[in-house]
């Protein structure tokens, strides 16, 4: 055995040779231009996550304002117009500017690490996607702060959102903000699929891939098929009707507002799973790290994830049961909506078996997982109830629905996300997050969450409809609403504890080392935080949990060049090495392209010619982006 390798083995499980040269190759430039040119997946992932958390805070503050308004009957704290703007901006922020981008950010950060490669397949596209997302968020909040906030709800149903009933630019800004965030989501989806299918560590056949990567793969395919639908709904139909006089949602000229609902929910329902499926992957990762065993029934979990994605595209009409569709259609969608409980149930049972047979290490992250299971199962129950047409018609547009979807969205996505944040915090920062504060934050959030949203089910069944800005005293909804408002402020308190914990642990937490949880997947095989190139030597594996396997069952790749950004391309199913591939260097062009496109797309809110400006500037940016740099030939 080579003595050099033996020594290296002690420091890093996958070898530790000549890091200086490779560091020089993968380092980003300093200064403002360097900052704008970054294409490292870790940096971009962190930017996504931090930006998304900022929007979570804004969306949360909007929710608090609404809860204040509803805390007592006939309250005059907010007027009806302002209230409409608040619930629209709150919903839009949470769906488009927080939930999807934060999941994409986690994927961008962790997928290359878990796969054992150096970056995503298209690093510049990754940077471009982030800048588009940021531009969309700035456009939306820029408009909101200059009093042009949309006020037609986060799904902007026509005719209310049409030219006749929503004059002003608010809905136009909403529609074009969707374009920005969807471009960003599509960029991430494309690059993650290519990374997952082509850049896994040698030996990581698909059936050895970590479940979080499976979740991101399934989610990315859903993004490919769902996001074009919302772009058709928001720009081709709604925005063009409003700005250039097409008639898609205008019944007087043959258009149909119901068609908008179909197209929107063909995106909107999969959207829920686009948020939820990465969360399932996170929960699986946390469980593996906290029980020191692989998730029970790995093939069943993977197949359920895939099945969920398929069924999710056949559910959209259950958002439209009150629109008077044919009964046979409603029956089909009821059956499909109930079917998804089966696949979700399989996953839940696999997790229970994992916990049952594992050695549980009750971390703060695992607390959030338990909270997730409780809340999500409750939300799933009301989901099965709402899938039934008669109950749905009664509860339609009531606070029962508001309670239900906050249970599935916060329970299904936010709790796993917070858990994942605690679990992976050492990897992000190199320091442990304070476990005690983490558990305190969890209990406050769990209590506050149920206090806020459980009463909504009851007040909804008592007849309170969503989106009303106030109610008379005589209906008797006061106490439940007051409880919900108290709960909302409890959530705020939990959020403050969480943020304080993050800020202090970042500076003064205990040093984490590579693998504080003794977990089995590859992101723990490198330093915390990882260097720009992730691994000095690319890992080479032979089992699902390489760090739990014996030394004989893992190894590392040699023969990669360290003087250019080389990654290894492997085959789709078995991850056998096929060729080396040189990733492009860092450059400012993705930023320039995103800036040019953004200027044009903002212009398109005012005149259709803005699209031509966007195309011209975007094309210039793309040509700069692809313009060949020396050296042209890539000799091995």
């Amino acid at each position: 055995m080579n003595p050099v390798l033996e020594t290296a083995e002690r420091n890093e499980p996958f070898g530790n040779l000549e890091p200086e040269a490779i560091d020089k190759t993968w380092r980003d430039e300093r200064g403002l231009k360097g900052w704008l040119s970054v294409t490292t997946h870790q940096a971009i992932g962190k930017r996504y996550i931090v930006t998304a958390f900022m929007f979570l805070l804004l969306g949360g503050l909007e929710a608090l304002l609404m809860r204040l308004q509803l805390s007592s009957p006939e309250n005059t704290f907010l007027g009806p117009g302002r209230y409409n703007q608040l619930f629209t901006v709150h919903g839009t922020t949470m769906m488009f500017l927080f939930a999807v981008p934060v999941m994409e950010g986690m994927g961008v950060y962790f997928v290359p690490l878990m796969l054992g490669t150096r970056n995503v397949a298209f690093p510049r596209l990754n940077a471009f996607g982030y800048w588009m997302y940021l531009a969309g968020g700035l456009l939306f909040y820029g408009a909101a702060l200059t009093n042009t906030a949309p006020d037609a709800g986060w799904f902007a149903y026509p005719p209310l959102s049409g030219p006749q009933y929503s004059p002003g630019k608010g809905v136009d800004v909403w529609a074009q903000m969707i374009t920005f965030t969807e471009i960003s989501a599509l960029c991430v989806a494309v690059e993650l699929i290519a990374t997952i299918l082509r850049m896994r560590a040698p030996g990581m056949s698909l059936n050895r891939m970590p479940l979080f990567c499976w979740g991101m793969l399934v989610q990315s395919f859903m993004v490919l098929f769902a996001m074009p639908a919302v772009m058709v709904a928001s720009t081709v139909m709604l925005l063009n009707d409003r700005t250039i006089g097409t008639h898609f949602v205008n019944p007087a000229e043959g258009g149909d507002p119901l068609l908008y609902q179909h197209i929107f929910w063909f995106f909107g329902h999969p959207e829920v799973y686009i948020i939820f499926i990465p969360a399932l992957g996170m929960v699986s990762a946390i469980m593996e790290g906290s029980t020191r065993r692989g998730v029970f029934g790995y093939p069943a979990v993977v197949l359920s994830l895939v099945a969920n994605a398929f069924v999710a595209f056949g559910l959209w009409v259950h958002h439209m049961f009150a629109t008077g569709l044919p009964q046979i259609g409603e029956a089909y969608f009821t059956a499909a909506s109930m079917m998804i409980a089966i696949t979700s149930g399989v996953i839940i049972f696999c997790w229970i078996a994992t916990l049952w047979t594992g050695r549980i290490h009750l971390t703060a992250a695992l607390h959030f997982v338990f909270g997730f299971i409780v809340i999500f199962v409750l939300g799933g129950m009301t989901g099965v109830m709402l899938a039934s047409v008669p109950l749905n018609l009664q509860a339609h547009d009531s606070y029962f629905v508001v309670g239900h979807f906050h249970y599935v969205l916060i329970g299904g996505a936010l709790f796993p996300l917070f858990g994942a944040f605690h679990y992976w915090f050492p990897k992000f920062t190199g320091r442990m997050i304070d476990e005690r504060l983490g558990k305190i934050a969890f209990w406050i959030l769990f209590f506050g969450f149920n206090l806020t949203f459980f009463p909504m089910h009851i007040v909804g069944l008592n007849g309170m409809t969503r989106r009303i800005y106030t109610y008379p005293e005589i209906v008797g909804w006061q106490n439940m609403n007051l409880l919900a408002t108290a709960g909302a402020f409890t959530i705020l308190l939990g959020g403050i504890v969480f943020i304080a914990n993050v800020l202090t642990s970042r500076k003064s937490g205990a040093p984490a080392g590579n693998d504080p949880w003794e977990a089995g997947t590859l992101e723990w095989a490198t330093s915390s935080p990882p260097a720009n190139y992730n691994f000095v030597h690319l890992p080479f594996i032979n089992s699902r949990y390489p760090l739990w396997a014996g030394k004989a069952d893992r190894g590392f790749v040699t023969g990669m060049r360290s003087d250019r950004r080389e990654v290894l391309v492997t085959s789709v199913l078995d991850a056998e090495p096929h060729h080396r591939y040189v990733l492009p260097g860092s450059t400012i062009w993705p930023f320039v392209t995103a800036a040019g496109l953004s200027v044009g797309l903002v212009g398109s809110i005012f005149a259709f010619s803005g699209y031509f400006v966007a195309s011209a500037l975007g094309m210039i940016g793309v040509i700069g982006w692809f313009w060949p740099r020396e050296p042209l030939e890539m000799k091995p």
Partner: protein, 217 residues
Amino acid sequence: MVLAARTPGDEAVTTPRVLDVSGLPAYDISSRSPLWLGQLLMCLIEGSLFLILIAMYFYLRLSVDVWPPPGVQLPNLILPTLALIPLIASCAGSYLASEAAKMNDRRGMLVGMALNLVLAIVFLVLRTVEWYGLNFTWKADVHGSIVWSILFLHTYDVVADLIMTTVLVVLVASGRYGEKQRLGVHVDSVLWYFLVAIWLPLYAVVYWGSHVVGAPQ
């Protein structure tokens, strides 16, 4: 290159701890490249977009009795059908260029891309003539809106791809190219095949739709 044997019950098999990949090629101009896969995924995105538009066409058709609406002339079928000939033929140019890119045949790439461009421009000229022949705009009624949306979005994509191809022609002609740009030429053909293939159902819907599923007033 052989990895560890993946025979059943291979837990006990020890594997080489070092995998030397220095012998692998540094580039691959084929469908095994990540870029090729990325281009295919972009085509899937655009494909979903166009399929949604087709679904919308039939949904809108079914919600009215008269289609196309009164005053709209049935489109002329001859010109759009003739235009398919240069369009489909242009794929041959793309194919030539993409095969030449694999073999680093500069002349082949230039000839292929030029053939692609010329035939595509002939197609675009015919498309423009057809377009001027329509006696309605997107503002007329919802039939106009959907037909114009399909025509506009497809034409937009075609023009964008032709600009990209032109840039590649400039790079190859000026000699400013290496493996990366050859891979670009190869992958560019994927997008072109897609744009041609997706036009066939779109053509059928836009031009034959009102003939076949229409109903006069």
